[in-house]
């Protein structure tokens, strides 16, 4: 701690940040543009000026840029000095000379940092009387709109896109006041994090194109804090609604998980919630018509009552995309023995193995954001950019960790972004990418290894053995494999904080075992590594913690025992098992009941469809890949027939008196029931405040105090304003009624603070810039660590891969846009989804045309042939999850012809 004096007042602060950041942490308003907490200071906008005095006697002082000033003991500064205030006013006047006055038609209007800073710095009238420079805009793809005339040249976009996110198809062009930020030519932005430009840009140059299609001012959005459903990382987001449709997703800060950013799949992949495929009313298959027909709620309850009367036996299939509460409700209803996790045998086995490693290996489990602090990284198998995109962004930062020791040694503060860049140039720390084919992290890799999963697992075992000779030995390694194992082993031993990344996506358990063995070996050498494993879906971990049984078991059980009704929870079984298997499974039931929000091949087979809300219309808890339970909150009330799955199931149970003396009315009741059955999940309760939480006796409103049009929204139907819906499940109200002061972090549904209308208002909610949120909780870990370090070496080492004649080993490939089930309903995502294809090594493609016939499992499909020199010979890359690819059971050997 050091003492500094600000406008005559003494403060004690940590001398770790630059002065601007320190001032913001002290909640002192200083305007700024180019500084960004995640990227650092570059001193280009000159808006953050303050006065600095040499000592007590110095009354004149000199103007300095607070973002470029280190905080030192005894420092005396002024933010309010008239001269520096005038300077800031002059600066914003200059900034505005080339900025159009198009706020009324600008999507940023009302949440524009430039507007805020203009006001804050005091610029009211334009003295500049000349023409402004103008630019042409570019087409940047389906997600981002470009309006260059609004640019104030803070360079944040290019710094984020290139330096932070590693994109190379975006840059700054020209010079002086003609500087242009965009692409070499019109085209889709290739970086998976491009959507963050919308938030990083302090004005309206880059705006959300999907939002534009159904635009609403920020203050007219009903917003709630929620969790991204598009992969297992559980990034925090804010979803905003108006007139019953979700209008946009923005990032929500979580200091442990996603920090300031989210990926494009998370930001734009939400449109399914507005889609025509939504199931909004109960549907029952008519006996006469054989078609699904709309029915009322009573019919649903009657349907179940009849079954209860007959003492029907239910089999329940849960979902890794549904909340803990929903899965548990189904489990309560059908009984634990009759409940099965709705994932296939391979996914479940891998998820369980991953969780076992997190719990029992000697490795520590960092949070997503903590992975940025690893100084040596080994990625085993995962193409993280496509399976857990935000992890790629974090690992990119980690690759700078080791080099950052140099500026520290030279007393160059790491927030001095340009200085650090110039010093380090392209220097990267040890970073190893072991995957079947190329990945978007290859550019930062020290070395890559391109092999099929079993060989990657072997190499991992070899690394473990190199580190600790007591680890199982791997035979038949090539010299280069041995050298690589040694190189990786040495770097890991040399690391301050080694990180091993792996996951389930290659559908190969031995990879996870290899990762665990490296961790065990390192621990034997007195190193505690970090391990970070990705899982298949948003709540894979939560589901596996509830039940270990899988779909294949359900299949066996359904065929061998007599069941009457099947209840499928928020799931499409056709994505999980081969088609004929699912058909057979469904045939075994007289009653097929599906709780879902979206029509899919499984709902097409249902006798009864119960409409439930997607994540934006429900509350619940998800457990992410690191075992962190996080609550998500309903954004708006969708009407009476769309309920949370757990609420429907609770009401259905009540009809059959199945609640077992439990009260199951609101979310808290279901959470209580959950932790009653699963005491090890008790932390779920603490993940967020319960429904009784109040500030000053008030609920927390989902709508801003400026929310407009409320009394006229229904005016075409009824002139009297309808009674607002109540929220019995959370501490939030659906309306603007409630405590309009700063929202506590745990239920922070929008960034707004007096004078701070843009996302930059976040500063006001952080205890210190970059730290935790006031009254906030970044979720709660639920993994039981009582058996930590109990794990011993896995001793099974796979055989080396041997290529076969005209028989290829299928290797799963992933696409950020396309591999995920629901995001593909976003038009832009569908546009960027590749057509189904097969990837082969060039050497394997002799005699094959552009289209080939591929025999996978028992079916034959025609696929486009793509060639590479990277994927090993004898392997065939199969993009999973793409429409028309069908479910594939790995490992799989495939035949190719044509």
């Amino acid at each position: 701690m050091v003492k500094i004096n600000i406008d005559g007042k003494d403060y004690e602060v940590e001398p770790k940040d630059n002065l601007l950041q320190t001032l913001l942490s002290l909640k002192i308003d200083v305007p700024y543009f180019c500084w960004h907490p995640a990227m650092g200071s570059v001193g280009s906008c000159r808006q953050c000026a303050v006065k600095k005095y040499a000592d007590e006697k110095d009354t004149k002082g000199r103007i300095v840029m607070s973002c470029m000033e280190p905080v030192v003991d005894g420092m005396r500064i002024s933010v309010d000095d008239p001269e520096v205030k005038q300077f800031r006013a002059n600066l914003i006047e200059l900034t505005m000379t080339d900025h159009p006055h198009d706020c009324p038609v600008c999507d940023e209007g009302g949440e524009c940092h430039l507007q805020d800073v203009t006001l804050m710095s005091g610029h009211n009238y334009r003295r500049y009387e000349y023409n402004k420079r103008t630019h042409k805009n570019q087409y940047l793809g389906p997600f981002i709109n470009h309006e260059m005339n609004r640019c104030i040249a803070c360079y944040r976009c290019v710094r984020f896109y290139r330096d932070y996110a590693g994109g190379r198809d975006f840059n700054v062009f020209a010079s002086r006041n003609r500087v242009y930020f965009g692409r070499y030519e019109d085209g889709v932005l290739q970086n998976e994090f491009s959507g963050n430009l919308v938030e990083v840009c302090p004005t309206g140059v880059f705006t959300d194109k999907i939002f534009k299609e159904h635009y609403t001012r920020k203050w007219d959005l009903t917003t709630a804090p929620t969790i991204c459903q598009n992969c297992s990382l559980g990034c925090n987001i804010i979803a905003g609604e108006r007139y019953g449709t979700i209008r946009r997703i923005t990032s929500r800060y979580n200091e442990k998980v996603n920090g300031y950013f989210i990926c494009d799949r998370g930001r734009f992949g939400y449109e399914y919630v507005n889609s025509d495929l939504r199931l909004r009313e109960p549907l029952r298959r008519g006996q006469a018509s054989g078609q699904l027909e709309e029915v009322d709620q009573k019919t649903v309850f009657n349907y179940f009552e009849k079954l209860f009367k007959k003492n029907a036996r239910f089999l329940g299939i849960g979902s890794p995309r549904a909340s803990l509460e929903a899965n548990h409700a189904l489990q309560m209803m059908v009984g634990k023995d009759n409940f099965f996790a709705g994932v296939n045998e391979v996914d479940q086995r891998l998820t369980l193995k991953a969780l076992q490693i997190l719990r029992e290996s000697p490795a520590e489990v960092p949070s997503l954001r903590e992975t940025e602090n690893a100084d040596v990284v080994v990625v085993l198998g995962e193409d993280v950019t496509n399976t857990a995109p935000m992890l790629a962004l974090s690992l990119r930062q980690a690759s700078r960790k080791r080099p950052l020791e140099l500026p520290e040694k030279m007393h160059i503060p790491t927030w001095n972004e340009r200085a650090v860049d110039e010093l380090l140039q392209d220097e990267r720390g040890p970073f190893f990418v072991l995957t079947p084919t190329e990945t978007k992290l290859d550019d930062i890799a020290t070395a890559t290894y391109r092999q099929v999963p079993q060989n990657i697992a072997r190499l991992a075992q070899a690394v473990a053995h190199y580190i600790d000779p007591e680890a199982p030995e791997v035979s038949a390694l090539t010299d280069s494999e041995k050298a690589l194992a040694k190189q990786i082993g040495d770097e890991l031993l040399n690391a301050k904080q080694p990180l091993i990344v792996s996951g389930t996506s290659l559908q190969d358990e031995t990879l996870l075992e290899g990762a665990a063995n490296i961790a065990i070996a390192l621990k034997k050498r007195q190193k505690t590594p970090w391990i970070f494993l990705t899982l298949p879906e948003a709540n894979s971990a939560g589901l596996a913690l509830l039940d270990e049984k899988n779909l294949n078991m359900a299949f066996e059980k359904a065929l061998s025992e007599k069941y009457d009704a099947l209840i499928v929870l928020e799931n499409d079984l056709y994505r999980r098992l081969e088609t004929d298997k699912v058909d057979k499974l469904l045939d075994a039931f007289e009653h097929i009941i599906v709780l879902h929000y979206l029509q899919n091949p499984t709902t097409d087979k249902a006798n009864l469809i119960v409409p439930v809300g997607p994540f934006t219309e429900t509350d619940g808890t998800m457990v992410n890949n690191e075992g962190r339970a996080q609550r998500y909150f309903q954004v708006f009330y969708p009407g009476d027939t769309i309920k949370e799955s757990w609420r429907w199931l609770g009401q259905i149970m009540a009809k059959g008196n199945l609640q077992k003396e439990r009260t199951l009315n609101n979310l808290d009741d279901f959470i209580d029931a959950l932790i009653q059955d699963y005491p090890q999940l008790s932390a779920v309760k603490d993940a967020a405040p319960d429904a009784s939480f109040r500030i000053a006796g008030q609920k927390i409103p989902r709508q801003s105090h400026r929310y407009s049009g409320r009394t006229s929204m229904q005016a075409h139907i009824n002139v009297s304003e309808p009674k607002p819906p109540e929220d019995p499940d959370t501490p939030m109200s659906f309306t603007m009624e409630g405590y309009q002061g700063p929202q506590p972090g745990a239920v922070l549904s929008r960034y707004w603070y007096p004078g701070w209308n843009s996302v930059q208002a976040l500063n006001k909610f952080q205890i210190e810039v970059g730290g935790g949120l006031h009254d906030g909780k970044p979720g709660e870990r639920v993994l039981d660590l009582s058996a930590k370090e109990g794990m011993s070496y896995f001793t099974q080492i796979p055989e080396p891969f041997a290529a076969q004649e005209n028989n290829f080993l299928g290797v799963p490939l992933y696409h950020i846009f396309g591999s995920e089930e629901l995001s593909i309903h976003t038009k832009g995502v569908a546009e960027l989804t590749p057509k189904p294809y097969i990837l082969l090594n060039e050497a394997d493609t002799e005699g094959l045309g552009d289209q080939v016939k591929v025999q996978i499992n028992d079916r034959t499909v025609e696929l486009e042939l793509r060639k590479t020199t990277v994927l090993p010979k004898g392997a065939a890359g199969l993009p999973v999850g793409l429409p028309d690819m069908g479910a594939i059971k790995f490992p799989v050997w495939i035949k190719i012809s044509g």
Partner: protein, 423 residues
């Protein structure tokens, strides 16, 4: 009067290695190689050589910030700044075209003093002839074992390359120059850290002006005391002084520091052309403050010019006569600076075009009195320290001094709604 830098230069020709040797060339290098790097630094420090690139920073002191010894980062770099794009400046051209080996020798000695192993001569695009001459001279030096490995058997290695630029005045700013050498956009870098510790490709680097480096061989050959003795002031050595504008005899002369402004203008530049009166001048390139008749007797050294409210700068003066419109001249300058802004920081990028536009409208007779307030405000907003680099503050120097000395001329434009100097 001694003219070490230019006495052997013949117009239109350059001194070959052999010719340069005959004038005592490369003797300084031989001496230096027998000394330790620190001793070479000390000699230059004692000589009192100050940077001739404009800022006048003591050269030996600058070198002393470079880490020396086996633990220092490698490679280290020495860069000769031959960008010379400051309007009104044409001094380095003479040294490059006339005596390239003097520069090369200076660079080898300087590199030795900071233990640099790689050097670049950063030359502006327009100096096509200079580039050819340097290429030839470099080849000669390599052939003679003066460059490359084990120079003159000393064990010291130094490779020297020519880099010609692709335009842009900002490349002359030393950190922007480094970015340009790295093949990047020439935006200046933050300071600190200074190039001496983190420079080209992140390694310790010294950037010196061509004229600065050309002084070094003579200091080593003749000693620090000699160097002190050849000037007429506290500031040691000679300086290239140039005069352009409507004088009888525009040109460039090597003269002792401390000579008076009047002497240069009247004796060397021959005074004003017939029928014209001296009105003012920019003493050291476009980014220095005007001096007027009242300053004719000042001493041309760093202190002397500073006391008069301007800067010695590059020592090349631009003379304004009474028949030339000062508003037009300043407009021309601000047009230059606005165009050459790198676009990095807001005050420069946005402030200079506005300044230019106001001056254009005043010059065209559409200016308003309030415009003068905006201009005055601009000189404050774009003052040193307020912008990222000194380009914009430099641009304000002629403007603020013109407003100070020639305000009437501005007001006349506004009142008469036309330029009184144009017919």
């Amino acid at each position: 009067m001694e003219r070490p830098l230019t006495q052997h230069i013949r117009p239109g020709e350059y001194l070959t290695a052999a010719e340069y040797r005959k004038t005592g060339g490369y003797e300084g290098l031989k001496k230096a190689l027998k000394m330790t790097p620190k001793e070479v630094q000390e000699t230059v420090k004692r000589a009192g050589l100050r940077g001739r690139g404009g800022a006048g920073f003591p050269t030996g002191l600058k070198w002393s910030f470079v880490p020396l010894g086996p633990d220092a980062p490698r490679p280290k770099y020495l860069v000769a700044n031959g960008d010379e794009m400051e309007p009104g400046t044409f001094k380095d051209r003479l040294l490059i075209e006339g005596n390239p080996h003097q520069l090369i020798e200076g660079m080898i000695i300087s590199a030795y003093a900071i233990e640099a192993e790689i050097g670049y001569i950063f030359l502006r695009w327009a100096y096509k002839k200079g580039a050819q001459i340097i290429e030839k001279a470099l080849a000669e030096a390599y052939d003679a074992g003066l460059l490359g490995k084990n120079i003159l058997g000393s064990g010291f290695n130094f490779d020297l390359y020519l880099h010609t630029s692709a335009g842009r005045y900002i490349c002359g700013e030393e950190t922007a120059l480094l970015n340009s050498l790295e093949g990047k956009r020439a935006n200046p870098r933050p300071k600190p850290p200074f190039p001496q510790t983190s420079g080209l490709f992140g390694k310790p680097t010294i950037v010196n002006n061509i004229e600065t480096l050309s002084n070094v061989p003579h200091i080593l050959r003749n000693g620090a005391d000699w160097y002190q003795s050849i000037s007429l002031s506290e500031d040691a050595g000679t300086k290239l002084f140039g005069v352009s504008g409507k004088v009888k005899n525009p040109g460039l002369w090597e003269l002792p520091l401390g000579i008076t402004l009047r002497e240069v203008l009247e004796e060397y530049a021959g005074g004003m052309r017939d029928g014209l009166q001296f009105k003012g001048l920019l003493p050291g390139g476009a980014s220095t403050d005007f001096l007027t008749k009242d300053h004719l007797d000042i001493k041309l050294d760093y202190e002397g010019v500073a006391e008069a409210g301007s800067r010695l700068g590059t020592g090349t003066m631009i003379v304004l006569d009474d028949k030339t419109c000062v508003v037009g001249m300043v407009r021309n300058l601000e047009h230059f600076f606005a165009q050459e802004s790198c676009g990095w920081c807001t005050p420069c990028r946005e402030g200079l075009p506005w300044t230019e536009k106001i001056l254009t409208s005043i010059e065209n007779g559409t200016g308003k009195m309030e415009d003068l307030d905006i201009l005055a405000g601009m000189t404050k907003t774009l003052a040193p320290g307020n912008t990222f680099c000194p380009l914009a503050p430099g641009a304000m120097e002629p403007l603020q001094s013109a407003l100070k000395y020639f305000r009437e001329d501005f007001e006349r434009h506004i009142k008469e709604k036309r330029c009184p100097w144009r017919s």
